[in-house]
């Protein structure tokens, strides 16, 4: 029930917002209220979930298409509950940011944002392959319009690339969904067995690789992240990318143990390449959004290394890192948005010297940056360390790559901090540009506080994600399919 409520609350909110002819501010306020209620509901769900026992809980199931074995089945594992938690928090912050800056055509805008929330939660909760596909696809509809209508100058080109990439992946996945479901006789993820068909696995893997995005499927990323409204970019990088991780952990690996094992070498190499390449691009990027966008790609490579480490440490780290990266990349994107609003540009050449006279901005950006570059003691450091330790079993080289990624992260984040806050005041930085306002702080500080909390106690997430053996995605590894 609770899971269904988590999915339906934002969708119902979307309908209400779309239908009621309220003025712009009221619409935005109502949407923000729904997003906060969603966070509250998630807290209730988390309090009812028994983390000691683990496994699938808060589950609900209803027949949908009996003759094909399709059902509406939802529920949470420890790790998916954490992913959903990061999602609802980020959505609340993103909708709050939109409320702060004001978006025109507000009824459509907030309805789409809330609908997207519902679709993302449904993806994280899906325990039926078709429901997963449906929610995975449903995310694309609002994203397409959000970028295409409210995006920047080149939004049309951005939507086209984004849709072509994502749909190419999704449709391969549809073919795989059909093939897997028909062969198994059921689409239920809890009832179906495993398959050793490499092609079907590839259909899923490519779809997830595009969504994440993993190198070399990241072609849509730079344009989309730059053209999307900043809070939508935040959602894309923080939340939507994590549905790919859920896909690997719930479908890719447990349903295709042998193909996943066979191809893990390739995936690890690509993930490593993505980590290094993304970091280098972030370091070379001329604008703020580029830095955060490419760093997000690098982080997704890192998380994938953790997932395909086939090691409990690695996957615990991957989940911790997913949650932490979700929160930090959302904070960074929102901060970038706030800087861009003050200066009218995100070009690093034109920025600088913003720390002077703006102590709050400087402090918050510095704090966010420190967490983003995984300073020891932060939640991101804990995540990276776990991944590094976990992936060691696959080859020491991967651990070296992870370490290299940490170093590169320090380089690009410090470059960003100094380009915004320090150096001489840039051309675009006007004297009268304000410090962070209370409303803006109210959006970023909660995100950073959660991150600080996780930095103090990372085990809260990492030790409650996979508690029992059968919740582990690797449970079926090594077993031959029936």
């Amino acid at each position: 029930m609770l899971t269904t409520a988590l999915i339906l609350l934002p969708i119902a909110g979307a309908l209400v917002v779309a239908i009621l002819p309220l003025p712009r501010e009221t619409t935005a306020g109502l949407a923000f209220l729904v997003a906060l209620m969603e966070v509250g509901l998630w807290i209730v769900a988390a309090s009812q979930y028994d983390f000691d026992e683990g496994g699938l809980q808060l589950d609900a199931s209803r027949q949908w298409v009996e003759s094909l074995g399709i059902s509406y089945s939802v529920g949470f594992y420890g790790y998916s509950l954490w992913l959903a938690g990061a999602a609802v928090v980020v959505f609340a912050a993103a909708i709050g940011y939109a409320l702060w800056v004001g978006r025109d055509r507000s009824r459509a805008y907030y309805a789409l944002m809330l609908f997207l929330t519902g679709a993302v939660i449904a993806t994280f909760a899906a325990q039926d392959l078709l429901l997963f596909y449906v929610s995975f696809e449903a995310m694309l509809i609002p994203l397409y319009v959000l970028v295409g209508v409210w995006g920047g100058e080149r939004r049309q080109a951005a939507t086209v690339t984004f849709v072509i990439y994502t749909m190419a992946g999704s449709l391969l996945m549809l073919a795989s969904v059909v093939a897997f479901g028909v062969t198994q006789g059921t689409f239920s993820l809890t009832e179906s067995g495993t398959s050793d068909n490499v092609w079907i696995f590839l259909g899923f893997a490519i779809a997830f690789a595009v969504k994440a995005p993993l190198f070399p499927f990241h072609g849509w990323l730079p344009l989309t992240y730059r053209q999307a409204p900043i809070e939508v970019a935040a959602v894309l990088s923080a939340v939507v990318s994590k549905t790919a991780i859920y896909g690997f952990l719930r479908i890719g690996i447990p349903k295709f143990p042998d193909p996943a094992d066979d191809l893990s070498g390739l995936i690890l190499v690509l993930a490593s390449a993505g980590l290094v390449y993304g970091s280098v691009l972030a370091f070379r990027s001329p604008d703020l959004r580029g830095v955060i966008a490419y760093s997000s790609m690098a982080q997704m490579g890192l998380i994938t290394l953790g997932v395909f480490a086939f090691d409990d440490l690695g996957v615990d780290g991957a989940i911790l890192q997913s949650v932490a990266h979700g929160l930090i990349s959302a904070s960074m994107f929102l901060l970038v948005g706030m800087v861009e609003r003050r200066c009218g540009t995100g070009e690093l050449d034109e920025l600088g010297g913003m720390a002077r006279g703006r102590p709050t901005l400087a402090t918050v950006v510095l704090l966010g940056g420190m967490i983003a570059l995984a300073v020891p003691g932060s939640a991101t450091f804990a995540g990276e360390f776990l991944i590094m330790a976990g992936v060691y079993g696959q080859g020491w080289g991967y651990s070296v790559v992870v370490a290299l990624g940490v170093v590169l992260a320090a380089m690009y984040i410090l470059r960003l901090i100094s380009a915004v806050l320090h150096e001489k005041p840039g051309r675009a930085v006007r004297e009268e540009a304000l410090d962070l306002r209370l409303g803006e702080l109210g959006l970023v500080i909660p995100l950073l506080l959660v991150l600080l909390g996780l930095s103090v106690w990372p085990a809260l997430v990492s030790e409650s994600s996979f508690t029992t053996h059968d919740a582990s995605p690797y449970a079926s590894l090594g077993e031959s399919p029936p």
């Binding site: 939004r155 969904v177 093939a179």
Partner: protein, 486 residues
């Protein structure tokens, strides 16, 4: 005294109800001019509604198939389901036609529409080659006139002529094929052909191929589709809506029936032939649609590609394939009628053919039609929250089950290509502003047309509803498919 077979009037009631509606519509010509439009329209919609009701009743009463009228017709749930779809489609089309700015010919228009519906209802229950041909000609002749009914528009006349010539050719091919099959088996009834021992394999296969080609013309499957874009574009939009939904339904159901009942022995040949037709339709329809700027033309190519998807279901030659086809027809008919209805509304507002340019900003100015067209486009592209996704899923599952995994791959690629033009429509609706391009009229209010609004709303409800209520529809489809000897 001539021996007459006993007549099962109930089985014949849907076409008869439609003929009665057509007769009443024609009689309205006796009334004063201001009453004609209203009376003939009501007569037609009443005919479609009664036919639908009778078809539903027939569906419940015909759980075991029966042969009627000396083996010329059949009474089964497949025909009844198809008649129900046709009836609802026809009623929706009458609603769409209501606001058409036509000065004369109201009575003729509605009478022909109802007669065409009657012909289709007859056609889907045909059980021998003669009634098949009779039904085909019956509804085709009505459609030839309907396409050309806006005789003051040159494009309408041109479309009518094109449809007449190509359609006549298609009918001739079907008839010749029927003659060859009769020559090879000395049988007319589908069942009898299926169990006959053919005297000449070559004649039988040639006949099968020609019958398939003749029906493929009506389905507008590539490479027998060349009339479709021109005719769909030139015909009055409400007629196009009727053709794209009803003609396809009738022709596909008839094709399924004749292939499965009359040619079970040749199934290894025709499954491949139908699969190839499906593949060509998918490729040609989707690539062709990409290049279109006129919305009716684009939807015409899109209907060719949908024919491809539905042929995929037939080529599976299984009960699951039959179910998939019958399920697919429901959201497809709704989306198709709905999309053409929105085009008709825009046409009436702008008084010009609807191109992509003239959609600019429509989503914001006319939110109701905008959201509706958005729903239909996403549905046709197979997005979730519409029945389109299940249609594709069932068709793909059936084809995969039948071992045609290559066809599934083609279908997937075709779907990917189709996003190019379906999402393009959404892009024009919402992401371009009409003022910026100085094209469409902005502001003001469109002509009031509540009947069309109702038709669009019903289409949206069916499109979205068939996503949530899948199993009941599938149960009906499964009952209908089980009437055939798979």
């Amino acid at each position: 005294m001539i021996d007459t077979p006993t007549v099962d009037w109930l089985a014949l009631s849907p076409p008869i109800a439609l003929l009665a509606g057509a007769g009443l519509a024609l009689l309205s010509a006796l009334l004063p001019e201001w009453m004609r439009k209203g009376v003939s329209g009501i007569a037609a919609i009443a005919g479609f509604a009664v036919a639908t009701g009778l078809a539903v009743y027939l569906f419940q009463e015909s759980s075991t198939p029966e042969v009627l009228l000396d083996g010329s017709m059949t009474r089964d749930q497949l025909a009844a389901m198809a008649q129900a779809i046709l009836g609802v489609t026809g009623a929706a089309v009458v609603l769409v036609s209501w606001g058409e700015r036509r000065r004369t010919n109201h009575a003729e228009y509605y009478a022909l529409l109802a007669t065409a519906g009657a012909g289709m209802a007859f056609f889907v229950s045909a059980d021998n080659l003669m009634t098949l041909f009779l039904g085909l000609e019956w509804f085709s002749l009505c459609l030839y006139i309907l396409v050309a009914i806006d005789s003051e528009r040159e494009t309408s006349l041109e479309a009518g002529l094109k449809y007449l010539i190509v359609g006549g050719f298609g009918s001739a091919v079907l008839l010749f094929g029927s003659a060859l099959v009769y020559g090879a088996t000395s049988e007319l009834g589908f069942d009898a052909i299926g169990s006959a021992d053919p005297s000449s394999e070559a004649f039988l296969f040639a006949g099968l191929a020609m019958i398939l080609a003749g029906l493929a013309f009506k389905v507008s499957a590539a490479p027998f589709h060349m009339w479709t874009p021109d005719v769909y574009q030139g015909a009055p939009t409400s007629v196009t809506a009727f053709m794209s939904a009803a003609t396809k339904t009738a022709a596909l159901v008839a094709m399924l029936r004749i292939l499965v009942t009359a040619f079970p022995e040749q199934s290894d040949v025709w499954t491949i032939a139908v699969a190839v037709l499906a593949a060509i339709s998918l490729a040609w329809g989707n690539l062709g649609a990409l290049a279109q700027r006129d919305l009716k033309r684009m939807l015409a190519y899109s209907s060719i590609s949908h024919a491809g998807f539905m042929l995929m279901a037939i080529s599976a030659n299984s009960e699951r394939g039959g179910e998939a086809l019958l399920y697919y027809l429901i959201p497809y008919s709704a989306m198709s009628v709905g999309a053409f209805a929105v085009v008709a509304a825009r046409e009436r507002e702008l008084r010009a053919p609807v191109t992509l340019d003239s959609l600019a900003g429509m989503g914001w100015e006319r939110p109701y039609f905008g959201i509706a067209l958005w729903t239909f486009m996403l549905g046709m592209a197979g997005f979730p929250l519409t029945g389109g996704i299940f249609g594709k899923l069932f068709v793909f599952s059936a084809a995969y089950d039948a071992g045609e995994w290559w066809l599934v791959l083609i279908g997937v690629v075709a779907t990917a290509i189709s996003l190019g033009y379906y999402l393009n429509v959404v892009r024009w609706l919402y992401m371009r502003s009409g003022a910026e391009l100085r094209l469409a009229v902005a502001g003001g209010s469109p002509p009031r047309d509540p009947a069309l609004g109702v038709a669009v709303a019903a289409s949206v409800v069916v499109t979205v509803g068939s996503f949530f209520v899948v199993q009941p529809i599938l149960d009906v489809a499964s009952d209908a498919a089980s009437a055939l000897p798979f």
